[in-house]
């Protein structure tokens, strides 16, 4: 059911463009208005969330560690997995962000017939996630060729590496295959296993399908249906230099691609995709484990009104004296 809803939502988005372009001729709307709007919503949505996070107090250090914490000098401590210094935390964060170390520790559990519950390591999620994210990043960076003139030398470098095998013309990019395969795997992972299917929501399937559709439309344009790349660059340059021109005679597939990317940007800050910025704020990763060596004051402690015994005596001195009670101060 959740799969059907996500697929239907995606289909509606695609139909919207086809009808809008083919029947209603809304090229300006889909080509200029929607992309600008998407970037604005993307930026402001994320900034809004970040401001919310900036206003929240930092929790007490959570030492969910996979290593010995720093204690006595002669006990070997794990500098990366249980860092006590800022440097160690930076190292842990860098590895987390670039290599997804937490996912590497992913485990699976299953009961085979006649067996007890068995726990095992499950590395495929980590591998597929790593391949997907890196391919996506390289693909996004390659797109710089459309929005810069002259093109930074990073782009040809990436293209050369990506087209390393020099298969066909235009050159086959390795990341194009990897992103589709890894997305397909990540999708299958959720659907093939009943436990994972039970846990998966529409919000899990939709981004996978959306990014898959973006990748497929891009691949179609590059290798099969073909588009006027120079013309599209002129259009994209118009957008980034704030002098938008609507391209003529551009395939509807390009508009679908652009609209799905815009949808992704709009959807971003309202969904789990926000983990792109959220990962930097993981309290179990970005706080050093120095609970024992540094005093941490609870940020939301209100100053407590205290009434000391001296004040009490001052207040009731006369009455206490009258009752014959002993006093500290006469």
């Amino acid at each position: 059911m959740n799969i059907l809803i996500s697929a239907a939502a995606l289909l509606i988005l695609i139909l919207l463009v086809i009808v809008g372009i083919e029947a209603a001729g809304l090229e300006y709307f889909f080509g200029v208005f929607i992309p600008y709007m998407a970037v604005v919503i993307f930026l402001s949505g994320i900034i809004f969330k970040l401001i919310g996070w900036a206003r929240s107090p930092v929790p007490f250090r959570i030492p969910t560690i996979a290593g010995q914490q720093k204690s006595l000098g002669w006990i070997k401590s794990s500098k990366l997995d249980s860092p006590a210094t800022i440097l160690g935390v930076v190292g842990r964060m860098v590895l987390e962000v670039l290599l997804f170390r937490s996912l590497f520790r992913n485990t699976k559990y299953e009961t085979k017939p006649g067996q007890k519950l068995v726990y095992g390591s499950a590395k495929f999620l980590w591998i597929a996630a790593l391949i997907f994210h890196w391919s996506f990043l390289i693909i996004i960076l390659r797109h710089l060729r459309y929005i810069s003139e002259p093109i930074p030398s990073l782009v040809p470098l990436l293209q050369n590496l990506d087209g390393f095998f020099q298969v066909g013309v235009p050159e086959l990019f390795i990341t194009n295959i990897l992103i589709v395969v890894s997305l397909a795997f990540l999708f299958m992972r959720r659907t093939a296993d009943p436990k994972n299917r039970y846990l998966s929501l529409t919000a899990d399937y939709f981004p996978l399908l959306l990014i898959l559709a973006i990748a497929i439309t891009g691949i179609m344009m590059r290798y099969f249906t073909k588009v006027d790349i120079a013309g599209i660059k002129t259009f994209a340059m118009g957008l980034v230099s704030f002098k938008p021109v609507v391209p003529e005679s551009i395939n509807v597939i390009f508009y679908i691609h652009l609209f799905l990317v815009s949808s992704l940007l709009v959807y971003f800050s309202f969904s789990k995709l926000l983990h792109m910025v959220g990962v930097f704020l993981s309290p179990t990763r970005n706080l050093s484990n120095n609970n024992r060596s540094v005093r941490h004051v609870n940020p939301w402690d209100k100053p407590v009104r205290i009434h000391t015994y001296e004040e009490y005596e001052d207040e009731f001195r006369d009455k206490m004296k009258a009752a014959g009670l002993p006093l500290e101060k006469e």
Binding site: I51, A54, R55, V58, I147, S148, V155, A230, M237, S241
Partner: protein
């Protein structure tokens, strides 16, 4: 403890990254639009296929030609006018588009493509001067 200072720095870095295309553009100076292609029509007013097709798919055509020649030893191609032309990068394409720098290269630089074909294939001009 609050980390708003660090998050604020993060927000600024994030904005700079996302708006990169926009300010990169203003740093790189005035965008001059699509480069002018110099088309030499002295050998014929038409390309081997329609201009639209050539613009979008000339690389596919070249790939088909290459495969035909190298794998099937079939060196000739009939264009829509009925004329038979040689399927050759250097001899056919570059005979009309001899001004590689002002034609192929200009558009490729703009589109960010560097075909590696010229590692082996020679340009018509160099052929003539040799």
């Amino acid at each position: 403890m609050y980390d708003s200072g660090k998050i604020l720095a993060g927000i600024i870095i994030f904005i700079l990254l996302i708006t990169f295309p926009f300010w990169l553009n203003s740093i790189q100076g005035e965008y001059k639009g699509e480069p002018e292609l110099v088309i030499d029509r002295s050998n014929g007013a038409q390309c081997v296929k329609s201009t639209d097709y050539m613009r979008n798919s000339h690389m596919t055509l070249l790939n088909e030609w290459r495969d035909e020649v190298v794998r099937n030893d079939n060196r000739f191609y009939t264009i829509s006018s009925g004329e038979r032309i040689e399927m050759s990068l250097s001899n056919t394409c570059m005979s009309c588009h001899a001004n590689k720098e002002e034609f192929c290269d200009r558009c490729h630089d703009y589109s960010g493509v560097k075909p590696y074909c010229w590692d082996c294939h020679i340009e018509q001009k160099k052929l003539e001067t040799n």
